[in-house]
Symmetry: C3
Subunit: 207 residues, 3 copies
């Protein structure tokens, strides 16, 4: 699964940078920026591992993702202006992150022989969005995934593709299909600015 | 314990609707509304299970509560105006939710042979209020349970009744006493607008 | 390790009071003030125990820290004005809390034979700051540790000292060195108002 690992690294970097950028924008100190970046990159996997019984969580026990995240945060601080201008490409890397984290998260459930669809989909989703949700909570924003664009939906669709295919084709192939589906849906949503509609309500009636 | 299960379903529906309603009010998109409703209905039990070592958490492993919550959220979106007018009755269902979640949560500790009172009461409380606390955090509100009315206190009193009685009477009976106590205290608090006093302080001295 | 326990009690009291004070300032009701104080004092250890597989978490299973925290919260409510004037000394006790929680948290990892540095440091940090982070999230503040002064850095440095020394000197001694280092760095930071710099950015470019 070494090619998958490559995508997970790209995702980790993208998530760490996104946390770092928001930390800088919110005027956190250097330590806060790094802590926020690490949280964004690592927390989704930690929560998933806790829910699946991988103790201690892989992202805390194996230092490689921590090191990559730390380096990404430091780079973000040193080259803030440059990375910010790079923002359009960030969407691409973030989509790779969402897609690879979803595949790895859903697979973590399957590897424990948990095949119940809702659980598998949840684990993909928690891994993919958990870090970003915590990032937004820590800087007092309503988490992005609740508000904007096809983000969670891309992850869920990817996991469904995994669930439908993994018993008929090799698991590795199935995981790449999951990654690919999540990535494509997310990128199309960004490109064509798909948004899920907001529920209509008569504003005048609202307290 | 099938009658208890019935109450838990009512509570799950009430919590999912409460999350959905707040999500709509906060202008979340359809996916966000559903995610918030699911969180409100399922997260308390998930956190409790993690703390007690039920892995994976029941609310993720068994799809029935998820399905009921999902349906409730969809209904909330489709019939928003009607359900909103129904709001007075929601307090009743929410109280059933608090009461049944408390009983089930405290019982989950006892079933693992954890009889330490603080742990049993905590598990009742976490199950009863955990989902609502996350719901409020996600939409940037100070969780209701910190601010208003006899909510947590009702859950704690219910669990104390359970602890006092479960060794002398059949556990099922004891659980219903817990449920009943929590429910009655909560409803009386709503009816007579009991509130716990806010701590007095001299405002002028406050920075 | 009874002297360490003494420091942990002081830390627990300091953290419970800090949660209580902020709860009062935020106009929570009496129950909310107590719940916030308990969260501040106990949650860091609970999260650490969940991550390390101590189930149920010690702070929930053993009532002594709960009772000390509860008493501290009640005292804070009864003697609010007096304790508030005592605020300067609170910084001292809070530093003892950070230091002792760090030592105990890092040690909890070592006691499970997890010696991977990032994990040990994380567990010290999560124990030391976890409660405060939740406290701030619940009252809608960006957690202090992200924003101000050498707080997390003191904890991390303490854990590094522990890691460097614990194989060459008796563990107890190593833990006191960790505590001492964390405490001194934190107090010096307060005394000389050390702050980690905020990342520079050109404000005009910010959206």
């Amino acid at each position: 699964m070494s090619f998958m690992t490559f995508f997970v690294y790209i995702g980790t970097i993208a998530f760490a940078i996104s946390g770092g950028l928001i930390g800088i924008k919110k005027q956190l100190d250097v330590f806060g920026v790094i802590l926020l970046g690490l949280t964004t990159a690592l927390a989704g996997g930690v929560i998933r591992d806790i829910m699946l019984g991988y103790i201690p969580p892989t992202n805390l026990a194996d230092p490689q993702y921590f090191l990559v995240s730390l380096l990404s945060c430091i780079m973000t601080i040193l080259f803030y202006e440059k990375i910010k201008r790079f923002n359009n490409h960030m969407v691409l890397f973030d989509a790779i992150g969402l897609a690879s984290f979803t595949a790895v998260g859903a697979n973590a459930a399957l590897m424990q022989d948990y095949t119940q669809p809702f659980l598998v989909i949840s684990m993909g989703l928690v891994t993919g969005i958990g870090g970003g949700v915590l990032r937004d909570v820590f800087v007092k924003e309503i988490p992005l995934v609740f508000r904007k664009e096809i983000y969670g939906v891309a992850s869920i669709t990817g996991s469904i593709v995994l669930l439908v295919t993994y018993q008929t084709i090799p698991t590795v192939l199935s995981l790449y299909l999951c990654l690919f589906t999540t990535f494509v849906i997310r990128m199309l949503a960004v490109k064509w600015q798909w948004n899920i509609p907001v529920v209509h309500r008569k504003t005048s009636q609202v307290k």
